[in-house]
């Protein structure tokens, strides 16, 4: 038997992916329809699909599924953008000025291993059920990767670029904006991708304390109503939106790398 050394074609890749998905759904179907797993523990794929279509048109927990997704995304966007807006510049400056790094690092390292969901009590205490709580939780998830990658990008920047800027008579501010920032961009965008992912994952936790709308809120309501199909529909929505966010950022990353001749 000889090993097939050729990489699979695009059609093959898609085909194999479809096989994986079909297997997953098939096993799920078999387990639930046969009664091996009782339906109250795990809904069938058919129940979930039916419920998802219902939720698209009919409100549950105050809104339809698309509206829940939108209101989740709004909170998420604020939290993530805030994390990027603070984390990236701070990380860059920490990479450029070691004294700033020395000031920030102990506090940052002390806080960054605390899971976003651990902030829920304080988020509730400080912000109640307002939008501030979820933003704070998403922020706490998205912030560390944004900062760390910007820092690493700036800290390990090719010295040649900085020296070239210096010998061209470039001031500090312009060096940071026009040399350090673009030179660190591949690293920064990798950090944004990770941060975006963790931020989105923190969403359900963030919405445990929200009283009005959002996918997480919808799922919690589904749980109280013992509607497992609603919970799974929420999980699917989270998965799809998360994937879309990642695809978008990956595109941006590829675009930047291609312009640099790195890809």
């Amino acid at each position: 038997m000889t090993a097939d050394a050729r990489p699979p074609s695009a059609a093959q890749t898609v085909g194999l992916g479809a096989v994986g998905l079909a297997l997953f759904v098939g096993i799920w179907l078999a387990l639930t329809l046969s009664g091996i797993v009782p339906r109250q523990f795990l809904p069938t794929p058919i129940d979930v699909l039916t419920r998802t279509f219902e939720l698209l048109a009919h409100p549950f927990a105050g809104a339809t599924l698309p509206v829940h997704v939108l209101s989740s995304f709004e909170r998420y966007a604020y939290g993530f953008l805030l994390a990027a807006a603070i984390g990236v510049p701070l990380g860059l400056l920490m990479g450029r000025f070691s004294w700033l790094n020395d000031i920030v690092t102990p506090v940052f390292d002390g806080l960054r291993f605390i899971a976003p969901i651990a902030w829920v009590p304080f988020a509730a205490l400080w912000f109640g059920t307002g939008i501030g709580g979820p933003i704070m939780i998403i922020f706490s998830g998205a912030f560390p990767p944004c900062l760390i990658n910007a820092y690493r990008g700036a800290r390990f920047v090719d010295r040649n670029y900085i020296e070239a800027a210096q010998m061209l008579g470039t001031r500090n501010m312009r060096t940071i904006l026009e040399v350090l920032l673009p030179a660190s961009f591949p690293s920064i965008i990798a950090g944004l991708r990770v941060g975006a992912g963790i931020g989105w994952q923190s969403l359900v936790g963030a919405e445990l304390i929200v009283a009005s709308a959002g996918v997480g809120y919808m799922m919690v309501q589904g749980q109280s109503n013992i509607s497992t199909p609603t919970v799974v529909a929420g999980m699917i929505a989270i998965g799809i939106v998360g994937l879309l966010i990642d695809v978008l950022l990956r595109r941006l990353e590829t675009h930047v790398r291609r312009r640099r001749g790195l890809a």
Binding site: N160, E163, M167, L168, G169, A183, G261, L262
Partner: protein, 265 residues
């Protein structure tokens, strides 16, 4: 007036709490509009000399002056051409060349004119909007030279600028640099380990000892070049065939070889 002066420059390096001498009493003068090549065995500190003139490093004792002023840090009066080009990969050819001028208050009209001039000088017409990664190594180094020339610096500091190029491209760039030196003479400190390159390009060649580096010998190529009329020959290989060239090259080779053999013990 002398453009670049090294005045009893010493340099120590610290490692593991111990101090190592890297440069030992380097004294060298590059006159205005003179092209001096600095050759020496690897690790002798020739690049350190250039980095001191650029202001990236400071001497442990002694002084480095450019245009009569002690060097305290990097600046556009001393443009550097790096071995690894160090072009900004996110900027086009034109924007790379413009980068230094935009740090000064050069009026837009004049800036455009000077950039166009530098592009013409280095034969980069048609590549203005290209990005560095789309160019060959030789073309990238042309952009880096244009970026330095456009500043009209007091001194050009070239750190093995052709070291990363293949042999053919290297020859073309050497001819190009000789042409530039005729059209637009500049004060140049040129670091290389290629003896032929040094003899072909320089007015004077300074030979350094192995570490800790000292100036061992300075050879005046200019008078021989003029006496033997090297400039009649367009091509590098024709000049390199001349008896006077071979003689000089061999002399420098032997001088360097003593350093290497001594270094290996």
């Amino acid at each position: 007036m002398s453009a670049i002066v090294f005045e009893s420059v010493h340099r120590q390096f610290e490692r593991d709490g111990k101090s190592f001498p890297a440069l030992d009493n380097v004294t060298l003068t590059v006159a205005d509009k003179e092209f001096v090549a600095l050759v020496g065995p690897s690790g002798c500190g020739k690049t350190t000399c250039l980095r001191m003139a650029a202001g990236f490093e400071a001497p442990s004792s002694g002084r480095v002056l450019v245009g009569g002023v002690p060097v305290t840090g990097p600046g556009p009066d001393r443009a550097v051409v790096f071995q690894q080009f160090a072009l900004f990969p996110w900027k086009s050819v034109e924007d790379n060349i413009a980068f230094g001028l935009r740090n000064r208050k050069v009026p837009a009209d004049e800036r455009r004119e000077r950039i166009a001039g530098a592009i013409r000088l280095m034969g980069l017409e048609g590549y203005e909007t290209a990005f560095p990664h789309q160019l060959s190594g030789g073309m990238q180094q042309r952009v880096a030279i244009a970026r330095a020339y456009v500043l009209d610096p007091q001194a050009l500091l070239m750190d093995e600028p052709f070291g990363a190029l293949d042999a053919q491209t290297r020859v073309v760039m050497q001819e190009e640099l000789v042409r530039l030196a005729r059209v637009n003479p500049r004060t140049v400190l040129f670091i290389t380990h290629a003896v032929e390159e040094a003899v072909y390009l320089a007015d004077r060649v300074a030979i350094m000892t192995r570490r800790p580096g000292r100036i061992k010998e300075v050879i005046d190529v200019r008078s021989i070049r003029a006496a033997e009329a090297w400039d009649r020959h367009e091509r590098v290989e024709d000049v390199m065939d001349l008896e006077s060239f071979v003689h000089l090259r061999t002399h420098i080779w032997r001088s360097l070889r003593e350093e290497k053999v001594g270094g290996e013990r």
